[in-house]
Symmetry: C2
Subunit: 309 residues, 2 copies
């Protein structure tokens, strides 16, 4: 129920990290790229094959120490439907290795259309009486600008199929405040109002750790708001981007956690994927470098929050 599976994985690995899989072709070593281009040509198909192979090597290297993976849909869509096939195969591969997979799609629409997104990314699609899984992640990031009827179709699938969503509340980017920090007439900010809506949407969907299936995206780059929201949203699990490449550190994210060291999962994408550069290793050693960086990040986070669970 809710994020219990994710939380169990975090406790088991003592690691509140999600590895962002946002693979640009530039991140893939020449040896993989060239082999794929040779096989499929310098085409979207060749590029997508290279991304998938890169991802699989990362997943193999991380799956026993990092409990979750977060592929970012944009980096797959960029390579056309061939890239989107690589997304589907990445999700399936990471899940087969025991990782909790969050598709970062920030999807949003009105009710009837949101049903289609919910079926696509978390549920099943009916094809002539057969129930088929299209992408089948464990959780999906969504944008709540449209209000309750854009979220409701997701709640049904969360309840029935043990899935979760993360709603954008306070995003990590520099201009996030332009709308999100605006003060409403009642004194709350727009992001606080969005946070309240998350608590309310998740009310019937709480799991054994007290967190509901409706989580929130709150950026590491705004540590004060992160701490404030942790207190105000006691049943809302946080997905925290912005650690590492965007500037957030362990001290910035520790406010995202409750006294048990639960309540949040911290994303690192480029930090893990491109760790070989930082460690002065050869590009070909990207998978080992990613593992070393994931262990370093785990230790840094545990140093700030203590043991988990």
């Amino acid at each position: 129920m809710a994020f219990d599976r994710l939380i169990s994985g975090i406790i088991k690995t003592q690691n509140p990290t999600v590895a962002g899989l946002d693979p640009k072709l530039d991140y893939v070593p020449d040896s993989i790229r060239n082999a794929c281009f040779e096989k499929y040509g310098r085409t979207l198909e060749g590029a997508a094959a290279a991304l998938l192979e890169f991802n699989k090597a990362l997943i193999d290297s991380l799956c026993d120490i990092v409990p979750a993976a977060k592929p970012q849909a944009a980096y797959y869509e960029m390579y056309g439907w061939q890239g989107v096939r690589a997304l589907a195969e990445t999700i399936a591969y990471a899940r087969s290795k025991g990782m909790f997979v969050i598709t970062d799609g920030k999807r949003n629409d009105i009710g009837t259309t949101m049903e289609a997104y919910a079926a696509a990314h978390l549920g099943k699609t009916s094809v002539a009486g057969e129930s088929v899984s299209a992408f089948g992640a464990d959780a999906l990031t969504v944008n709540g600008y449209l209000g309750t009827d854009g979220i409701k179709p997701l709640l049904k699938i969360c309840a029935e199929e043990d899935k979760g969503v993360f709603v954008l509340v306070k995003t990590s980017n520099p201009s996030s405040g332009e709308l999100q920090d605006r003060e409403l007439a009642d004194g709350a900010t727009v992001y606080e109002q969005m946070g309240r809506m998350c608590e309310s949407w998740g009310e019937e969907l709480r799991g054994e750790y007290g967190y509901s299936a409706v989580g929130a995206v709150v950026g590491a780059t705004y540590p004060a708001q992160l701490g404030e929201l942790r207190k105000k949203l006691p049943h809302t699990f946080f997905l925290v981007p912005g650690y590492g490449a965007q500037g957030g550190g362990a001290d910035d994210v520790k406010n995202a956690f409750d006294e048990r060291g639960l309540g949040a999962v911290i994303n690192s994408s480029r930090g893990i994927m491109c760790a070989w550069q930082k460690q002065g290793l050869a590009h070909e050693d990207f998978a080992e470098a990613a593992r070393a960086e994931a262990l370093r990040m785990r230790d840094e986070l545990l140093g700030a929050i203590g043991n988990i669970g």
Copy 2:
């Protein structure tokens, strides 16, 4: 520049309509479905092939009288990467028939990731020195909750490649007011603030009709707000969903237009795709029924707003 190509098409056809291509498998006649299932099995591939054939017949039947098409990404993602391939092929086919294609994806993310979405849906992707078009629509719907740096990467492509975006401002769904109608401390509502941001984002990107490349999504189901926003956002072209199946009529949408009959394009999805039901025709006659409904809708809109241009 900006939406000039769309506006020229609207003037030429004297029809401010965009045909929503949101094909559920149930909308596809048995004859097409069965042929595709026979060829590809009762699989996502079979379903996607049926959607594409359905879309192509609709496009053939509409392209000389309806200037634009709006495929809704959710209904393709629902059928997996195979469905997403049908989306890419639908976009290419509609463009080859002279239609202006708006991908309705409501995409949103931070700057670096939005660059990937912009390349995916409007621009080009670089693959080993080759520039490849992944989806290549003329415009994309986006969600501005993240503020300026989630929009900027799109503006560059709009300027360089003659593309447009539509930002969600006031959506057509019943619960859209939960966040969007909230009053800010300065007296404006959240949707008005979003509208102001559209005017500002589009400032450098105005075309010959006075409208910029940054449009807004404003629902037909809120006619008062539609009229109010038309006055307040004189350079922002509107994409108006909610006509027909969601309850909006010609009188509701006429406020979306300026005195020249320009300034908006009205979407009809189910109204056109499922017109055969309303007209008491056989399912197989869906394409002719869609054309008859598109002509009826055009006449209804022209009756309300007068000649265009």
